[in-house]
Symmetry: C4
Subunit: 202 residues, 4 copies
C-alpha cells in the first residue's frame, strides 16, 4: 500500500466533498422577490460555512496524522475508507439542516441528524487514530510518546464532545449550529493543540 | 504514455465518482415530518454505503494492478477508459436502486439494473487484467507467475459471481444489496486475497 | 508558470468534467414502470458514452501535447483556460442531446447544439496547438519537424470534420451521434495517429 | 504544514469549483421550442463564461503567490480556507445572476449579490496577501521588495475596484457583468501585471 497515493486519493475526496457543499444551498424559486428569498437562505449559508470549516479542519487533521505514519496497511485503508464515507456524507445533513432552519420546520430533527453524523464521524476518527497508534503500529518516530497520549485523549474526548452536540440540538437548533462553529474555531485557535502541532512540525 | 499521469487521472475519477454518491440520496420533501422522511431514506443510505465500499475497494484494486505494471500503452489506456466509464456510471444505478427500495416500487428491476452494471464492470476488470497480463504484456517483475495465475482465476471468477447477483436480484432486491455488501466485505477480509496482496507488497 | 502544476490542474478539470457526465442522465420519474423508463433513457446513455469517450480521448490528446512542450507561458495558460471552458461545458449539450433523443422532441436542434459545441472546441484545440507550435514557440526537441507538420494538418482538418458534423446533425440526429462516436473510435484505432503517437513516445 | 499538499488540495478545490459552474446553466424545460429555450439561456452562458475566467485567473494568482512562499503555517492555512470558501461559493451567485438575467426578473439584486461575493473574495485575497507578506512573514527571496509593494497596492486597490462593481450593479446588471469580464481581461492583458509576472518568473 503506497502511502502517497492514499493521501492523494483522500485529498481528492476532501476537496470534492468540501466543494459539493455549495450545492446544499437551495436556489431561489421566485425572482420577483429575490432579495427576500436570498435573505431567507441565510441559515443555509451559515450551515454551508460551518460545514466548510469543519471539513477543512478535518483535512488538516488528516494531513497531520498521515505525516506521522511511517507506512499504511490494508487495515488503515479500510478505517480511512469508512472515515471518508462519513465525510462525503456531510453535505447531505448540511443541506437538511440549512433547509430546515430556512423553513423553520423540523429544525430540531435536522440538528440532531447533523450532530449524529458528526458524532459517528468523531468515533471513526478515534478508531482510525487508535488503529494507527496503539502499540505504535503505524507511527513513525516523529511523534514522541507523550504527545501520542495527548492525541489519544483528545480523539476520545472528541467523541464525547460531539455526543454532547446531540443534547444541545434537542435544546436549540441554532445553539447546536453555533456549537459546531465554536468547535471548529476551538480547533483553529486552541493553544494546546497548536503547541502539539508545532512540536509535530505543523 | 506516462503511467503516473494515467494513475493520477484515474485516481481523480475514482475520488469524484465516490463523492458524487452522496447526491444519490434524495433530499426530504416534507419538513413537517422530517424524522419520518429521513427514516424512509434508510434504504437509499444503505445503497450509498454499499456503492461507496465497492468503489473504494475498486480503487484499491486499481492501485494494486497498476503497481505491478512496468508500463502502460494506448491499449491499456482504452481498457482503463472503458472501465472508468462503468465506474463513473455507478451513482446512477445506485440512485435508482436506493429510490426504488425507499418507495417500495420497481425494486426488482432496480436490483437487476444495479447488478447488470456491476457485471459489466467485472467483465471490464477481467478484460483489463487479461490485456495487461497475458504473455506478461505490461507486467513488471514484481508479480510472480504463480500469483498471476491466481489473479487471473479471481478476475474471471468475479464475472461469474457478479452474474450470480443478477439471479439474486430476481429473487429479492434486499438480498441482492446484501450480496453486494458481502462481496465488498469478502474482498476486505478474505485471507487468500490478503495473502496475495501481502506478497504483492500491498 | 509551472508546467507540472498546470497539467495537474487541467487533469483535475478533465477528471471532474468526465465524471459529471453521469448527472446528465435523468433519473426515472415513475417507478411503477421502471423497466420501461430505463429503456426510454437509452439514448441519454448513448450520449453519455460518446461524450465520455470524447473527453477521455481529449485528455489523452492534452497529455500528448504537453509532453512535447519544454515550457508554458501566460499565453498558453489562457488558450488552455479557453479550451477547458468548452470541455467543462460538454455535459450541458450532452444532457440536452440525450434528453431530446429520449423525448423525441427537438432532437435536430440538440444535435446541432452538440456539434457546434464540439466545433468550437476543435477550433480551440487548433488555436492552442498553433500557439504552441508555430515557430516552435513552446515545443521541446522531442517532436521532429515533419511530425509537427502532420499534427498541424490534423488539428486544422479536425475543425473542418467537426464543422461537417453540424451538417450531419441537420440530416439526422442519430447519425450525428454515431458520427461523433466514429470520430472517437477513429482517434482510438487510426494507424496514422498511432504511428505519430508511437514516434512521440506515446 | 506541507506547502505542496496544501497547494494540491487548493488546486483540487479550484478545479472542482470551476467545473461545477456548468451546473449553473438551467436545463431546457420545453423541448418543443428548444432553439428558443437555448437562446433564452444566453445570459446564463455569459455568466458561466465570466465566472469561469474569473476562477481560472484566481487559480493563476494563487499559483503565483504560493510560488513566492518559502513556507506555510497554520495562519496561512486558515486564510487560504476562508478564501477557498468564497471561491467555492461563486457558482451559487453565478447561477442566481444568470437565471435572473434570463428571466428578466431580479437582475439588479442578483448583480449586487454577485458583486458583493466578489468583493468579499477580493478582501480575503488582500488579507491572505498581507498575512503572508507583511514583514515578509512567509515570503521567500524570489520576490524583490519593490515588487512586494506593487503587489500590496494592487491587492488593496482590487478591493476598491470590486466594491465599485456593486455600484455598477445598481446602475445596470449587464454593465456589471461586462465590468467583471473586463476585469478578467485586464488581468489577462494588462502589461504592468505581466511585467511583474515576468520578473516573478511567471
Amino acid at each position: 500500500m503506497n502511502k502517497g497515493r492514499l493521501e492523494t486519493f483522500s485529498d481528492g475526496v476532501f476537496a470534492i466533498a468540501i466543494t459539493l457543499l455549495v450545492l446544499t444551498i437551495a436556489q431561489p424559486t421566485n425572482y420577483d422577490h429575490l432579495a427576500h428569498q436570498l435573505g431567507h437562505r441565510l441559515p443555509a449559508l451559515a450551515a454551508y460555512a460551518v460545514s466548510f470549516l469543519v471539513i477543512g479542519i478535518m483535512w488538516l487533521n488528516h494531513h497531520t496524522i498521515f505525516s506521522h505514519l511511517r507506512l499504511v496497511d490494508r487495515g488503515m485503508f479500510y478505517w480511512n475508507l469508512l472515515l471518508l464515507m462519513t465525510i462525503v456524507f456531510i453535505p447531505y445533513p448540511t443541506e437538511v439542516f440549512g433547509e430546515a432552519l430556512s423553513r423553520g420546520q423540523g429544525a430540531t430533527t435536522a440538528a440532531v441528524f447533523y450532530s449524529v453524523t458528526m458524532t459517528v464521524n468523531a468515533c471513526l476518527w478515534a478508531g482510525l487514530w487508535l488503529y494507527a497508534s496503539v502499540g505504535r503500529r503505524l507511527l513513525g518516530e516523529s511523534l514522541p510518546e507523550s504527545e501520542r497520549t495527548i492525541s489519544t485523549v483528545l480523539f476520545v474526548a472528541g467523541t464525547a464532545v460531539y455526543a454532547l452536540s446531540i443534547a444541545i440540538a434537542l435544546a436549540s437548533p441554532y445553539a447546536c449550529l453555533g456549537f459546531h462553529a465554536a468547535l471548529a474555531l476551538y480547533y483553529a485557535f486552541d493553544p494546546i493543540s497548536r503547541r502539539v502541532a508545532r512540536s509535530r512540525g505543523g
